[in-house]
Amino acid sequence: MKTNRILMATSALVAGTTAVWAAGHVEMADSMTLVSWGGAYQSSQQKAYLEPYLEMNPEISATWDESSPQAVARMRAMYEADNVTWDLVDVVASDAIRLCDEGLAMEVDHDEILAPAPDGTPASEDFGDLIVSDCFIPQIVYSTTAAYRTDVEAWNGETPSDICALFDLETFPGTRTLERRPINNLEWALICDGVAQEDVYDVLETQEGQDRAFAKLDEIKDETIWWSSAAESIQSMADGEAVIGSSYNGRFFSAIVEQDQPIAMLWDAQVFDLDGWIIPADLPDDRLARVLDFVYFATDTQRLADQAAYISYGPARASSAPLVGDHAELGVAMAPHMPTNPANATNPFVYNYTWWADYRDDLDAKFQAWLAQ
């Protein structure tokens, strides 16, 4: 770290520009505001990233703001008021794309600001395809996946084996619970209507394809509780209100492993999604310098692997995967619970961010209209 900072300073001196790297020369701010999701996820970041960082830099004070769910709107409001109080914001990839499009997030050169892997692989290769936007610094891979209750009598001993069990009311009767948005649901509907995975977005682009997906969802519409926060879906499955449904894999992990609920994962057609940092655009030099220093540390191979000891989300670096160990409190091996674990990722669905950036507004209107019918 020290050498890195000195390097930064010298290169800045040599270059003599006011570019990002001059930040190494500028006084670093001694406080920062990090924005995250609260709950178990934020505390995993606190333990894996922030606590070790604060130990190295005891003069720093850091505050959390649990505003990630509203990050996009809050950031736009801050920029309009010209008073940006956040230094580093945790968002899902689609929000990162939106913030980048709006010019509210800083574009970064991943190789320049992030640590290379221990074997020297540059960061951009280590993160690979997960860098879905120039502003986005990936942290974890999570998945939206389905799970089911293991004690449903009406199923006569049958257990769901693929995602289409969601739509199979004959074999698997009972209430479903799905997210109240078109993303993922339309894709699953098409897959279960016989569309090959790689054709899903081509089909969904057409009016007929959209009608087809909604027609498939119509079959289970009246049997579905539509959730808007992931906790609702877990709650309704734990209470037996729903027997099969979707949520984030980390939420299911805590219901199954930590709370011992009779729920089993159905990894089939799980949809990978990403969560990571963005740095607000146009931060003052001293704050930017502090944030870059923190990000360099918090996204290195070891730190990303450490986070997996607290929550079952896969580290975004390829080089972190072999370092994933046991759960810090429960002692169970975390690897089998990772969405990226080969046994779980036999049939993942590849989510198309740029496609959804285009179609989100339109399909959301259609989806809400369909729900309201």
Binding site: T18, V26, G103, W226, E241, A357, Y359, D361, D364, W370
Partner: protein
């Protein structure tokens, strides 16, 4: 008030003979009317000054922000701000012809896009237009990556003729005024002296006289180049090679007017004359083909008609969208059935809020009556029970209803246990309109009870006793004597509950399922997720207008004086 000051006048009829004719005078000889008016004015100013702090506070924190937010529902400057040239060029395009626009429009778009990409606002324009036509977001994002390469070959050709062309100094010599060169040198000196942390912007670029006219395209583009460089990177044209599009503009200027170099002198003239040769070796740049190569949708009708329709600075588009209509080149059209949602939601919000208000009246009235008529000590205990929900988080209360009402929940379990409901056909009490009405009635009940209570407290019990002693039955005494006196409380409570309930969105979101959500849920979605603040503002404005209309109706029917919020 002014009528009252003129009060003494009628007296003149009675004893008019004694009084002098003309206006009445005060002791100091000025007319009584004006001296009264003056003292009244002083009082008014004093009163105004007393309320001024609150008034200013409300203006700054409430009225102005709300006004600004509502203004967004019609504001649409982003299109003409980001694409100034294109909007002008596109004016002459006939959308109905079905042909893509002319090369001139594509050329204007290329210039606007280069500037927008450098300023990094082409993508927010893409998001804006994507609200109207699906697919434009990625079209703009993609073009942003490519458009700075437009004219690359022409830049190379200039460089081949003379390497001096890629020297920033060449361009500065050609265009910059002496003033600017001097100011720039001073600025550079200060920057050198200050070292790191120097954040003074360089001086804005100035053309020297007469250099712009011979090369109109080039100088216009160069002006943009210098401006963007200054605000975006805090740099100056003295340090940076111009964009490709500047070279392309120079090529077009030279091709259009081969005599242009003669307007210059010295080295610049020689360079330009030498560069004239480029018009023989290079063909004109095909903007249309270049855009087509990025994506064939650039030639499509949808993109250009959307830009044309939404190029004015103010648009009714958001308001039309909030009533399930859309603006198209052919005028206003109803959206497809599979996207109609806002009409349903507005109606549902109104109807369900009324239902919630009525159930609050039904449940709240007896409670308020009890509170007002029980002995003080018992009433206080009851009052705490009424207020208790205020001290509990809204989310906790709503979630508690979830536990109670769901099919595997407490109420259904109880009914099944009692044998009132068959286990297989448990009641659906939540994730539908019933759930929203039950939970919202519970949450809003105190807002009904408190005004009712404060009004009932002031009704003397002796009135009821008097009615009964005059022979009224219990019902008649209540209905003819007590109830009319409690109406102001009902009015106040209803207004509070109704207005609060049309704005609720957390509770409907959690317990409302698909059929129990309100328009506010959509407003929240557009504010926080889709970032379509214009549409959110339009929906909000309509909601505000609806409330004002209902308020006005209420005033006409019940009378606003008949409202008592207590005291």
């Amino acid at each position: 008030m002014t009528d009252a000051t003129a009060g003494p006048r009628p007296n003149s009829d009675a004893g008019g003979k004694d009084k002098p004719s003309g206006p009445m005078l005060a002791a100091d000889g000025t007319s009584l009317k004006s001296s009264l008016a003056r003292s009244m004015r002083r009082q008014k100013i004093k009163a105004l000054l007393l309320v001024a702090p609150l008034l200013i506070f409300i203006m700054i924190t409430f009225i102005i922000p709300i006004g600004q937010m509502l203004f967004r529902s019609v504001e649409n400057q982003i299109v003409s701000d980001t694409l100034p040239r294109t909007v002008v060029a596109l004016d002459s395009w006939d959308a109905e012809s079905g042909d893509p626009p002319s090369q001139a429009v594509f050329a204007a778009m290329a210039r606007d896009m280069v500037v927008a990409t450098e300023l990094n606002n082409h993508t927010s324009l893409g998001s804006r237009l994507n609200y109207e036509t699906t697919g434009l977001s990625s079209l703009f994002r993609q073009a942003g990556r490519e458009v700075d390469d437009f004219g690359e070959d022409h830049t190379d050709a200039f460089e081949e003729i003379d390497p001096l062309w890629v020297e920033p100094a060449t361009w500065v010599t050609m265009f910059a005024s002496d003033n600017w060169v001097e100011a720039h040198a001073e600025w550079a000196e200060r920057a050198e002296a200050a070292g790191f942390g120097f954040d003074e912007l360089p001086p804005p670029f100035e053309f020297s006289e007469g250099v712009q006219e011979p090369l109109p395209r080039t100088s216009a583009m160069f002006a943009d180049f210098a401006r963007v460089l200054r605000v975006e990177d805090e740099e100056t044209p003295a340090e940076e090679e111009p964009w490709n599009i500047v070279y392309l503009s120079l090529y077009e200027d030279l091709a259009a007017d081969p005599s242009a170099p003669s307007a210059y002198d010295g080295e610049t003239r020689a360079l330009l004359e030498e560069a004239l040769a480029i018009t023989d070796t290079m063909g004109p740049f095909d903007y249309q083909a270049a855009f087509e190569e990025i994506d064939e949708d650039w030639l499509g009708y949808d993109l250009w008609s959307t830009i044309q329709t939404f190029s004015p600075s103010y648009t009714p588009g958001y308001f039309l969208a909030s009533i399930d209509r859309q603006l198209t080149p052919d005028g206003v059209e109803v959206v497809d059935d599979d996207r109609k949602i806002y009409g349903t939601l507005f109606l549902r919000t109104m109807v369900m809020s009324l239902m919630i208000t009525f159930s609050c009246i039904l449940l709240g009235y007896p409670v308020a009556w009890l509170l007002a008529n029980l002995p003080m000590r018992t009433a206080n205990v009851l009052m705490i029970l009424v207020l208790l929900p205020f001290w509990t988080s809204l989310l906790v209360r709503t979630s508690a209803w979830k536990v109670l009402l769901q099919q595997q929940g407490v109420i259904n379990d109880l009914l099944v246990w009692l044998g009132l409901v068959n286990d297989a056909s448990r009641l659906a009490l939540i994730n539908n309109q019933t759930g929203t009405i039950i939970a919202m009635t519970h949450i809003l009940l105190p807002f009904m009870i408190l005004p009712l209570y404060s009004v009932m407290k002031t009704v003397p019990p002796s009135y009821l006793r008097a009615a009964k002693s005059l022979g009224a039955t219990n019902w008649t005494a209540f209905w003819r004597v007590y109830f009319p006196q409690s109406v102001p409380g009902i009015g106040a409570g209803s207004i509070l509950v109704f207005i609060l309930s049309i704005g609720y969105y957390i509770t409907p979101e959690i317990v409302g399922g698909t059929k129990g959500v309100f328009i506010s849920n959509r407003i929240a979605y557009h504010i926080s997720s889709s970032l379509n603040w214009g549409l959110a503002a339009a929906l909000g404005s309509i909601l505000l207008a609806l409330v004002l209309v209902l308020y006005w109706l209420y005033d006409r029917i019940v009378g606003i004086d008949n409202v008592n919020l207590g005291g």
